[in-house]
Symmetry: C2
Subunit: 415 residues, 2 copies
């Protein structure tokens, strides 16, 4: 079956706000084998919304409306869907009573308008909303000779997600043919999207029955694999076959096949090896420490870090000799190694990491351009250092790549 997702709200047509519920819904629908064919966004406007509802009824089997179920004059989803369906609306006295009771409990008089939330489209089942006040609605039946499922959900994500899982999923399961779907996510570190896709396309291109989506960003490429087959085993087999071929191609660039982030994987390895880590960061300014400590339980392996922006601090916290900085510059192989070794010794960690570079946009020179980064890893038996030249121009991106480079060096050290 196929679906259309419609987000309602004028704020979703501003430059500041974007519908994200549709990602959650798409994930849930895909898991059942339902494909999303259209997504629409429309404002709180009767004419426009009714038109969008009519269009959706003509082209999708499952139609999900999100938002516009509140008590204000702007909340017109109920009326517009009823009009598009050509059916009346009735006010449900049970819901009205509940609304009054809820306000009475808070010792507040209910504003007249709130009764609008009790308006039910003729033929709809009401879906309760324990997380908020606007109930949802479920309508199933023939419209102009076609079988249609129409679902009205509240807009706030925690209300929508709860209602979808508790009310909508059980109803959908009864009518959607049971699908045999397998999925897998391969994540690779430090590859560019174009390079990764050039190498991967000839491989996944052979698997016409596995859908492959390539996502890239901030020093990471992800392959999302998805197969639909006659049996679950068959679907799983196809996904696993393709995954194995991709792992052969990308070797140890693949850091996770179970959805984990690079910092999670690094955390697993550190714990497994009973190793500890300490980091000294210049250009990344705390980003590496922040990523390592974003994992709950990281206190078991993360000892500490120093953000050493000025030269004095490099000496103060990591014992980098001032003469070394004077001779080679703060952005140099030597200083990166001294940072890694210094912080390792100070914190008595198994692994010490040092990062120094030019994040820009200013501060670059011909010899040391913006984007130049040194990452060093100190451990037994010796210290390694890597020089990277990232494209200049985007401070945030250079910092992300540098932290990613460090995390991947730690991972490879621990494999």
């Amino acid at each position: 079956m196929n679906a259309e997702i419609i987000a309602i709200g004028s704020e979703l047509l501003t430059p500041f706000k974007q519908d994200t519920n549709s990602l959650f819904l798409t994930s849930r629908l895909n898991d059942m084998g339902v494909e999303v064919k259209f997504k629409s966004v429309v404002g709180d406007d009767r004419q426009n919304l009714t038109g969008v509802a009519r269009t959706a009824l003509s082209r999708a089997e499952i139609i999900i409306f999100m938002g516009g179920l509140g008590p204000t004059e702007d909340d017109v989803t109920r009326e517009c869907v009823a009009e598009a369906l050509g059916v009346p609306i009735r006010r449900d006295s049970d819901i009205v009573a509940e609304l009054y009771a809820r306000f009475a409990q808070r010792r507040v008089k209910m504003p007249e308008n709130n009764a609008r939330q009790a308006d039910v489209i003729d033929g709809a089942e009401v879906m309760p909303n324990p997380k908020g006040s606007a109930p949802g609605q479920w309508i199933e039946g023939l419209h102009l000779g076609e079988h249609r499922v129409i679902i009205l959900l509240p807009g706030p994500p925690f209300e929508l997600e709860h209602m979808f899982d508790t009310e909508v999923l059980p109803r959908l399961r009864k009518i959607v043919p049971k699908a045999k779907i397998a999925t897998m996510v391969l994540k690779c570190a430090l590859l560019s999207e174009s390079m990764a896709d050039e190498r991967a396309a000839p491989i996944y291109g052979k698997y016409t029955d596995v859908e492959t989506t390539v996502l890239a960003g901030a020093g990471q490429v992800e392959f999302h694999l998805r197969a639909v087959a006659e049996t679950l085993e068959e679907a799983q087999e196809r996904v696993e076959q393709l995954a194995a071929e991709l792992e052969d191609e990308f070797q140890d660039a693949v850091f996770s096949t179970g959805g984990e982030s690079l910092e999670q994987i690094v955390g697993y390895y550190l714990q497994m090896r009973s190793a500890t880590i300490a980091v000294a960061e210049s250009c990344t300014g705390g980003l590496l420490a922040q990523r390592l400590t974003s994992i709950s339980g990281s206190s078991r392996y993360f000892l500490g870090g120093a953000v050493v922006y000025s030269n004095d601090m490099k000496t103060l916290f990591c014992d980098v000799p001032p003469l070394m900085i004077a001779e080679h510059g703060a952005v140099s192989k030597q200083v990166a190694m001294a940072l890694a070794e210094g912080i390792r010794k100070r914190c008595r960690a198994t692994i010490g990491v040092g990062i120094t570079g030019v994040a820009g946009p200013t501060g670059g020179t011909e010899e040391k351009p913006v984007g130049l980064v040194y990452v060093a890893l100190a451990s037994q038996p010796r210290t390694e250092v890597v020089e990277r030249k990232f494209p200049p121009g985007d401070r945030k991106r250079i910092r992300m790549w540098a932290a990613q480079q460090a995390l991947d060096m730690i991972r490879k050290k621990l494999i």
Copy 2:
């Protein structure tokens, strides 16, 4: 005038990827006084896309198609728009020659398919794409008696943005009536959305001619104001009046009216006062340092930071007495103050900041629950400390709020 934005690409109908170009386009269109009335997402499917194009032609004056202009069989935007318009397509020999030349330069034979990028809808002006290979198209004229502007843009953001600014904007300016629009953004720190809106709604509610959008997240509430009037002066006056009333209400919680982030504002103040800063972080794990150093030029005021997760490190880097930790616990007012004072002294900074808390989800106790955070600020003449209890459950959110609390304390100290 009004507009519809259509994003094309099956990957935009997966749970992993979302159109973001429409936010850029909406911002640019709104600046001209053009309102976006509909947004649509559709896959690389001839029938569905042609249908979407027909619907858009029936309801919007300016229609922007994004994506599907590449060389592969999946790139069907040109054909589908032509079909919806009921006009033929021709292959432009100049573009074909350019494509051949580009491939020849790289000494690569051009794949046959690539010539598809030279297909031009009858009546269209071709818009060059110096950032990529797929040119854009501009069509203006009557369709079924209505004036329509149809714009085809490439999907990759840097290609789309460049083409919009260099090719589309100058053309639109000739046909869109000159609008008198003023905008302003007020940002407030450390307010909850519901509390902020409760106080703000009675104020902005009076200004029916100023559109107010309230955005909230991670310890910050933003009021986006926008007025359209007969003259630019009038629009500006209305926006400024409302902004002044909101500033009266929220007083010094308002940290910026020019779009700046809290870390930018803190950076301005530190530079203005010729002050320097050093930070010692436990539960935020480097997030505060990372935010402070995300600003280009922060090396002028940011001296250094210590991420002191373990008790030993608190002593090693910030001279926190081990007995103090034993007596009061690592998460305590005393330790937060000692961290702030210790890092200030070590780095010889004007301001020292110390953060300690329980980010969770594990590690909380009855006395020291998840969400409890102490932030201390050491400077002349004395050290201040604040205790906050953030809602437990979301590690990322607690860390964000704690860093936000610290930044806002620095700001208030420097005002």
